[in-house]
Every structure is written in structure tokens, then in C-alpha cells.
């Protein structure tokens, strides 16, 4: 079955430290993959997406993600976290159909 897994429920990092949020997918073929961010009480905002081509994808707010087929992963990274990055992050995937499958989310806490 098509699915996306985010193994970390909650991550805490210090401001200025680097960040990596994990996402694993299970699809028969190369999926379309997305990362979204949700601030408290808000809807989800698209950070970046991967369809094909270059496996390192740049997004908004200084985020990037790398697609690794051998590891079935699409991890989100940021070199230096800001306090405003505290939010919940969702990985999502699609097998080519119009529906997205969402992971259960990773909550990011940033400490001063």
C-alpha cells in the first residue's frame, strides 16, 4: 500500500543548530513527494516538492530536501534553525494520482 512514514513525533533543536526531519515512503514507483509546514492554528503551507530530476530540492524559508531512492527517504533539512521555524511538519506523497498520503507529522520545538 502507498504510505508515508515520519518516525519522529517530536524533535527539539537549539536555535542556530542544523535540522533534519525524516520521511520514508512506500510506493511501487517513484512517487511525487512534498513537505508541508503548519504553524499553530493554521492550515498547511507547501515548503517544497519533488517530482523527478535533481534529487536535491530547494524550498521556501531556507529548507531543502533530498530524495534517496535506495533508502526510500525524502528528508527535510535546514542548516540553521530560527525560532520562527517551530511548527509541525508533514511529509506527503502521491503515486501519481491526485490524492496525497500524509505522514502523521513531526512537531519541531526550537529552544533559545
Amino acid at each position: 500500500a502507498q504510505s508515508v512514514t515520519q518516525p519522529d513525533i517530536h524533535i527539539t533543536v537549539s536555535e542556530g543548530a542544523s535540522l533534519e526531519l525524516r520521511c520514508n515512503y512506500s510506493y511501487g514507483a517513484t512517487p511525487y513527494l512534498f513537505w508541508y509546514v503548519q504553524s499553530p492554528g493554521q492550515g498547511l503551507q507547501l515548503l517544497l516538492k519533488y517530482f523527478s530530476g535533481d534529487t536535491l530540492v530547494q524550498g521556501i524559508k531556507g529548507f531543502e530536501a533530498e530524495f534517496k531512492r535506495s533508502q526510500s527517504s525524502f528528508n527535510l533539512r535546514k542548516p540553521s534553525v530560527h525560532w520562527s521555524d517551530a511548527a509541525e511538519y508533514f511529509c506527503a506523497g502521491s503515486g501519481g494520482a491526485n490524492n496525497l498520503f500524509f505522514g502523521t507529522g513531526t512537531r519541531l520545538t526550537v529552544i533559545p
Binding site: G41, G43, G96, T104
Partner: protein
Amino acid sequence: DVKVTQSSRYLVKRTGEKVFLECVQDMDHENMFWYRQDPGLGLRLIYFSYDVKMKEKGDIPEGYSVSREKKERFSLILESASTNQTSMYLCASSFRTDGYTFGSGTRLTVV
């Protein structure tokens, strides 16, 4: 920018009431979706639509129905609200597989 507008940010309804959640998008997107979001459960798909007057059940359609009479509007209906439908409801739209654009959400409390 595409905008997806949900008519209410907060809503309080009584058990047994019929509840309408409205969603409007302004970019002529074919696809529209309704999700509910609960702590620890992530986003769960209730219903979706790929075209006017078309609807498909998602993962948790029980207790809900939808209406799409116009391309830009997708309504979620709780036929008889119950306390276990207290949740955050998120509407989204998309063009093909481009990824979703979400509304700001409606936090519904059923008392």
C-alpha cells in the same frame, strides 16, 4: 497566489445539529479535498472531488457528506453532529498532481 478560503475559523455547534463547512478556491482547480486533523492521527481524508458534481469517499466518510455544485466551492456537511466530530477541518485544492493549497482550517467544537 491561489487562495483557499474556509468560511469560519471557529465554530461551536450542538449535538444533533446539521453543520455546513464551506470552502471556496479562486484558481479554477479541478480537485478539492476535505480532511480532519486530530492530535496523534495526522490528516485523514474525509471526501474529495475531481470535478463538479463528482465526489469520492476518503478514508473516514461516515457521518459526513459533501456537495460540489460549482467548481470553486466544496461544502462539507455533518448530517447530525456528534461530539466525536469535534476536530480541526482542513479544505484543500489542487491542479492535477501539483500539490495541495490549504485553507486556514475550521476548528469545530460539538457540545
